[in-house]
């Protein structure tokens, strides 16, 4: 069971993740209120979301389709019959005093995703309602409740405890993120809470037959924190066990500022959720025909897209993989190459554009780069209007301002100089100013050719067409 390369001080971490994903739907799971982020507090609340006396839930078919899509993408079993249960607990942002979720008959079970060649099993994925938000910093003496999020559809994806290291957990999470964003199941935005993660962490000796006692770390909201929180938790548990202590089965919170997990205040009494089938809803049978109709409308998966890019665009496996890792970038690429050279576009997207995105840590949609403009940039390189070096400058410019490529080139006079007469004049001047070097070159110092090219480029601020400069220089110096 244990993999030795993941041992830490002789201990084997065992990790399972529960990922909550807010589904992209028009409306909430059981109410016709809009499912949207960032609106004014309590403006997206229907009678049902408020849990008024006498209201009843009706299942949103859209949420069901999203769940099925995830199941299909992970080769999972789609439930023949799914059933909703009530999970009972009191909290001010839970208006009904229970959450409608799926305990025994989830929409999806037994899925699998592959992370770096290793299969990580998904135990189940079930539909449930999100709670509202409690806000604690508006007043000193009160908390306040915003119910806009109340009833937003969630898919909770529960992995088997197949993960063996914090970095593998992050890879798994990235894979889940890729699937849900690829299939428009969710926007996957972790900072807005559309994707949240709980981690179950335990450690064991490699020779142990049974897992250790696990702690659950709640609500981790970035990839970076997932890694840090799990690593902290592993170290904490090692320290306890090596001091002959015992790990407590408990829920812990990750504090990203202190970089530590800490126990959530132990309740006076253990909670007991008293699950039972929700009597306001009826079982849902999911037919083969329905599943097929969902499959038909489904976008291609990353691997499928990569295959297609390799055959359609003749990209190599690596390039296609990098481009297809992010759906936004893959779509962007397809837009760009409608008019621009494929290999050059790929090179620039994988290289310079990716570098900029990474440096600023934003996704393509958040940047000022659009496909038409970027395509223009590539075309200007191809038709020798600008050199590669100038193109980098143009890219920097449009990254900051979003201005059209042609405008940047025009306003800054960045066009490549390909006029023979003009270049001949410049070459003449340079050779006159560097007479000693000309003599040295002619006496056999061939290496000085590069010096003359450099001087021409300098004099033209890099705008001279390098091929033409080479050609003209050779002719003049021969």
């Amino acid at each position: 069971m244990a993999q030795n390369d993941t041992l830490i001080k002789g201990w084997q971490p065992v990790i399972g993740l529960e990922v909550h994903v807010q589904l992209m739907t028009n409306t909430k799971l059981f109410s016709p209120a809009k499912n949207q982020f960032g609106e004014d507090a309590n403006t997206l609340v229907d009678l049902i979301d408020l849990g008024l006396p006498g209201v009843l839930p009706v299942l949103n078919e859209g949420a069901m389709k999203q769940g099925i899509k995830f199941g299909l993408a992970t080769n999972a079993k789609i439930a023949e019959t799914m059933i909703f249960d009530r999970k009972n607990y009191f909290y001010p942002d839970l208006p009904k005093g229970y959450q409608i979720t799926q305990l025994h008959y989830p929409i999806v079970r037994d899925g699998v995703v592959e992370v770096n060649g290793k299969k990580i099993r998904i135990h189940q994925a079930h539909l449930e309602e999100d709670a509202g938000k409690s806000i604690h910093d508006k007043y000193d003496d009160k908390s306040v409740i915003d119910l806009n999020r109340s009833g937003v559809p969630l898919l909770e994806i529960v992995s088997e405890p197949d993960i063996r290291s914090a970095s593998e957990a992050v890879e798994y999470l990235k894979k889940i993120h890729q699937i849900i964003t690829y299939l428009d199941i969710s926007d996957g935005n972790m900072s807005q809470g559309s994707m949240r993660c709980d981690a179950n962490v335990s450690i064991m000796k490699p020779e142990d037959k049974e897992f250790g006692t696990r702690a659950e770390i709640k609500n981790i909201n970035s990839f970076k924190f997932v890694e840090k929180a799990i690593n902290f938790e592993i170290r904490r548990q090692i320290k306890i066990l090596e001091a002959n202590g015992a790990v407590e089965q408990e829920t812990r919170l990750y504090d990203s500022i202190k970089d530590e997990t800490r126990s959530m205040r132990t309740k006076e009494f253990a909670n007991d959720y008293r699950y039972f089938p929700c009597p306001d809803l009826v079982p849902t049978n999911i037919s083969e025909e329905f599943i097929e109709s969902v499959r038909k409308d489904m976008d291609e998966l990353p691997e499928e897209k990569q295959e297609r890019f390799m055959s359609t665009y003749n990209l190599n496996e690596y390039d296609a993989g990098v481009i297809c890792a992010d759906k936004q970038i893959a779509n962007f690429f397809e837009e760009v190459v409608k008019d621009a050279d494929i290999q050059l576009a790929a090179k620039w997207i994988i290289g310079d554009l990716n570098a900029l995105l990474n440096k600023h840590d934003i996704c393509l949609d958040e940047s000022k780069i659009d496909a038409a403009n970027f395509s223009e940039l590539i075309q200007k390189i191809t038709d020798n209007t600008i050199s590669g070096k100038i193109a980098k400058e143009v890219l920097e410019e449009i990254w900051i301002t979003g201005t059209k490529v042609t405008e940047v080139i025009d306003s800054k006079g960045m066009q490549q100089i390909s006029d023979e007469g003009e270049l001949e004049n410049i070459i003449e001047t340079i050779l006159n100013e560097n007479n000693n070097q000309v003599i040295a070159y002619k006496s056999g110092k061939d290496k000085l050719f590069g010096f003359f090219v450099g001087q021409v480029m300098k004099a033209t601020q890099g705008k001279a067409n390098p091929g033409l400069v080479n050609e003209l220089l050779k002719k003049r110096l021969s």
């Binding site: 408020l50 078919e61 409740i145 007991d272 849902t284």
Partner: protein
């Protein structure tokens, strides 16, 4: 049912009761369970539980909604709210 069990039950249900009321509550509950427990004698292991009498299935709606904003109406119904939120005592996490 002893006092600790009742205390736990009261907390789960979020209902307050004074300790001196416990014996009376316990007696009432135990009387009811005596009535209910008659069914324990039945051997029903072959039967499937029945949750809903008509055993309907497959009721869903299209993913279409409304843009109703009931904010003011809803907040007015709460005895403690401000212009934007429902208010509760400070929750310490």
């Amino acid at each position: 049912m002893d006092k600790i069990e009742l205390k736990n039950l009261l907390f789960l249900a979020r209902i307050n009761a004074k300790e001196e009321e416990y014996p009376e509550i316990i007696e009432k509950l135990e009387n009811t369970f005596e009535l209910i427990d008659e069914m324990q004698e039945l051997d029903l292991s072959d039967l499937k539980p029945l949750n809903n009498p008509l055993e309907l299935s497959n009721v869903s709606r299209e993913d279409k909604g409304n843009n109703r904003n009931n904010k003011k109406k809803f907040l007015d119904n709460s005895s403690e709210s401000d212009e934007d939120y429902f208010n509760v005592p400070k929750i310490i996490e």
